[in-house]
Symmetry: C2
């Protein structure tokens, strides 16, 4: 209907709201003339931020709200009670079809719950997984699911594999993406009850390229494009990336400061090192999509700066233009036949 | 009875057997006069390795066996069929009381199964966990369980917490070790069914120092001394250490080779960096104990060199002298009252 891809953005969510959020929105519309951003939040605050920039006024609209959902609030209650919050309002814009997508740097819990409760699931989707891109030695992989829904069933994991395949193929351009299930060994008979039940289902799934089990050690090496696991394990994998990465980089820095010789070396090495390590930074990939909803919901880090907000908004364009949800719907329905 | 701590070592297990195994045994007895090593395996091969070294002949005894369990063999079958293998023989030495401990660089599956089936569990212990030490920013933590028994119950995790506390206190000298359960958030209401059920049990456990949930991100930072989880999650954590670590170090090296300037810097930085990163190398800690058995079973990496074999053997001395199994027995029984 609209000539734009319409993206709702929670103007009050995140550690650096509204400053970095507004800046990111402006950068997005200045980079792409096909996107319109609906910034939800306290209009006076957002307007005074917007006043600092030059941009096409047709591409940003402020939607005034009076309430704010805090990071620590119990999600279900917050969604139900705070109807006039920036988050609930943005989700409703997607629900009623005014917007195609929603980008949130606010409370993860409220975003996930709100996505399911307000926007709603695609018919046939049992659980909407949160699927961040993670850096690997060869590029990046999709880790699916890292969401809030633990204790998944085998049928959920099969749907994750399908939705992840659609995403990697259509958004990231990976032809016939390799799908693997996280396991404690490469052999088919290994695993816990969930993995053992899921393995044959994935193996017999005709519309994905299943390559078998992947040990956690091989995830950073990039052996699979779509890494399927239940949310508890996914969360552990994602946070081990952050944890091991930051400690190792700290150790490298400490190591370089131990002698005069190494200090001089550090000065010479620093610029090159910074550039390489950036390629291995989780945050460069911007937001993680919550797949399987009637509209796209993208969760970015609470600490997101303008660049991540911009990338998350632009990601919504590819997602919408590629008609990902239609493709997911087709793949999920195929299973039911 | 014996003046020695008697340690059985599988002379044929591991990628570098018997060469590195025999070398490690010799180094251990040359470093400590209170240990006697029983090397199981093909006597001719082991003897010809031993002939290369000088050591106190009273401290090493070769126990001839004719069969070998391969890395890929199904463990239960291998243990049952190959009675005259170096692994089964060594386990029997512990079972019959001739040895206090067993060190294996061979098949993990066969070692874990054999430990339970042949050596047997301490009365009251429901499951023997495999508990490797992992490097952290502040020293090291015990990750318990990384074994082959998945789908654990809450009562298992409580016992892991107790056994891990005994180990960290008595072997590593950590006073009142901090115990945490791996979770996807710090709040008590977070988690999957297993964690939610286990949390209050740990909280009400009087004889451990429980500090609550730990997110995977905080494990490498060293926020807990005893990191409790079920084996599937433990395996993922351990292997993410290896995976993220090796990729990051590869990236650092690549980064240093991108320009002439950085190449010169790399030469200056290298020795200092090597030393610091060594402190973060999983392998330096040698073997992981399989706790809760009637005797100690230590599993070291299949790729173990002499230094790891030596460290694993020496670790058995502390374990035996500190009477860990008696302490575990007391702590587990306390629960039953």
């Amino acid at each position: 209907m609209s000539e734009f891809v319409n993206v709702a953005v929670d103007g009050m969510g995140g550690d650096h709201a509204p400053y970095e959020i507004v800046k990111g929105a402006v950068e997005a519309v200045n980079e792409n003339s096909h996107v319109k951003v609906f910034l939800t939040g306290q209009a006076d605050k957002i307007d005074s931020e917007l006043a600092k920039y030059t941009y096409n006024k047709e591409q940003i609209e402020v939607v005034n709200t009076t309430e704010i959902i805090e990071m620590a609030e119990p999600p279900v209650m917050a969604i139900r009670k705070k109807k006039d919050s920036s988050l609930v309002k943005a989700l409703n814009l997607v629900k009623e079809g005014s917007c195609d997508a929603f980008v949130s740097a606010g409370s993860t819990g409220a975003t996930l719950v709100g996505g399911q409760v307000i926007v709603g699931r695609i018919k046939g989707v049992e659980r909407p997984p949160l699927a961040p891109l993670i850096p690997t030695a060869t590029g990046c992989s999709l880790l699916i699911d890292c969401g809030a829904n633990v204790d998944a069933r085998p049928s959920h994991l099969v749907q994750f594999a399908k939705m992840g395949s659609v995403y990697m193929e259509s958004v990231m351009g990976v032809k016939s993406p390799k799908v693997a299930i996280v396991n404690i060994g490469a052999e088919e008979e290994k695993g816990n009850a969930l993995v053992k039940e899921t393995f044959p289902l994935l193996k017999n799934c005709p519309d994905i390229h299943f390559i078998g089990s992947i040990e956690a050690r091989d995830i950073p090496a990039g052996l699979a494009d779509v890494v399927v696991c239940e949310a508890f394990v996914g969360n552990v994998i994602l946070k081990m990336y952050e944890g091991v990465g930051s400690i190792l980089i700290k150790k490298v820095k400490e190591g370089m400061m131990t002698s005069l010789r190494s200090k001089i070396g550090a000065l010479l090495v620093k610029p090159a090192l910074k550039k390489t390590l950036k390629a291995f930074d989780l945050e460069q990939y911007g937001g993680a999509p919550l797949l399987g909803l009637n509209g796209l919901v993208v969760k970015t880090h609470g600490s997101s700066k303008a660049i991540e907000i911009k990338n998350s908004i632009l990601q919504c364009i590819t997602f919408t233009e590629q008609n990902i949800n239609q493709k997911i719907k087709e793949k999920i329905t195929m299973e039911e036949n």
